[in-house]
């Protein structure tokens, strides 16, 4: 029996960007470890709480940003760091406990079968439990992504994604904030990567909702996306 069959998660690196997630981070890491995903990399994005300490205690490798850079900054660092360990697949996973670790198997399957280079777990295929305001906000983000980068994805803002190693190496993240989710879609298009969306359920708690984007932050993200578009077109 190969090492991969014995330990289903050993060829997968899980990247968790985290900012002030001391309430959930340890539980998320233990949940992943319990089903065999042991290569867990937490990028502590300059948290002011015990996120790093708790993540380390729970058994993750932790690297820390000296100052907070935002979701994109942490994701970019996480992908770069994970590539150093040459895993077959790199998975991004939210730290707020909104993803079910059992769904990872469905997310990575298209990559393992060679059917896709990138897989996005779409919460909007079955948006039950997602508050309507959040649903509208996500759809606006999808529309903006389509208009700016020409690719329609049903849930551009999903934090559960899987990349083949070669896809992760080709994706260039230049933004730092929430706009990175849309930038990743742009990069999938630019590199002509095969994208597949797999339906997932989102676990919405009061906590995870408090961590998402507000309307004001949404407008800010939109401005940053337009700037990113201008910068990308200059290059």
């Amino acid at each position: 029996m190969s090492a991969q069959a014995e330990r289903p998660g050993s060829h997968i690196a899980v990247v968790i960007p985290a900012y002030n997630e001391e309430r959930t981070i340890a539980g998320v890491i233990r949940g992943l470890k319990a089903i065999g995903y042991s290569r867990i990399l937490v990028v502590d994005d300059g948290s002011k709480d015990r996120t790093s300490e708790l993540a380390r205690e729970a058994g993750a490798l932790v690297i820390r940003h000296v100052v907070n850079r935002g979701l994109g900054g942490a994701l970019g660092t996480g992908l770069k760091a994970a590539l150093l360990f040459t895993p077959e697949i790199i998975l991004t996973f939210d730290a707020d406990g909104q993803h079910d670790p059992d769904e990872i198997a469905h997310i990575i399957e298209p990559i393992e079968k060679g059917e896709a280079d990138v897989v996005i777990g779409s919460r909007l295929s079955d948006p039950k439990g997602m508050p309507w305001s959040r649903r509208v906000a996500n759809q606006v983000a999808d529309l903006v992504t389509l208009l700016l980068f020409g690719l329609w994805v049903s849930d551009t803002q999903s934090g559960l994604r899987a990349f083949s190693r070669s896809a992760a190496a080709r994706i260039r993240i230049m933004t730092s904030g929430m706009e990175t989710s849309s930038e990743i879609i742009a990069e999938i298009g630019r590199n002509k990567l095969r994208l597949k969306e797999v339906p997932i359920k989102a676990i919405y708690t009061e906590y995870s909702l408090s961590k998402g984007q507000s309307f004001k932050l949404g407008l800010y993200t939109l401005t940053k996306l337009i700037l990113a578009k201008i910068r990308r077109s200059k290059q």
């Binding site: 290569r39 380390r56 932790v62 000296v66 850079r69 660092t77 040459t86 230049m174 700037l227």
Partner: protein, 123 residues
Amino acid sequence: MKPIQFFLLAFALLALVKVVQKYRARAIQTMQFLAWVLICLGATFVAVFPDTTNFFAAMLGIWRGADLLLYASLVIISYLIFRIHLTLDRVQQEITEIVRVLALDQLEAGGSAAVGTRGGKET
């Protein structure tokens, strides 16, 4: 000379002195220096002969020279703010790059043991 002309003239001349000082201290480049000197001289001229702006305003179909200045200022300020946004965006990206390098250095410092040896299977 009306009070507003006096204020404009004083402001333009003060700006000119500052620009010369900055250039002498080599804080700005020659092209920037020349551009600012032109702007200051233009403002001085307009402050002393405000009616000349009416000529340019009439050319664009605007009645008063003062209105033309106001519109032009808005356009220039908007453009400058846009440029500042772009610059800030670039600076933000550079900060992220620095923070990223510092974070990745932590892996070099031996943190890799926690997730197994690099390039190989789980330890």
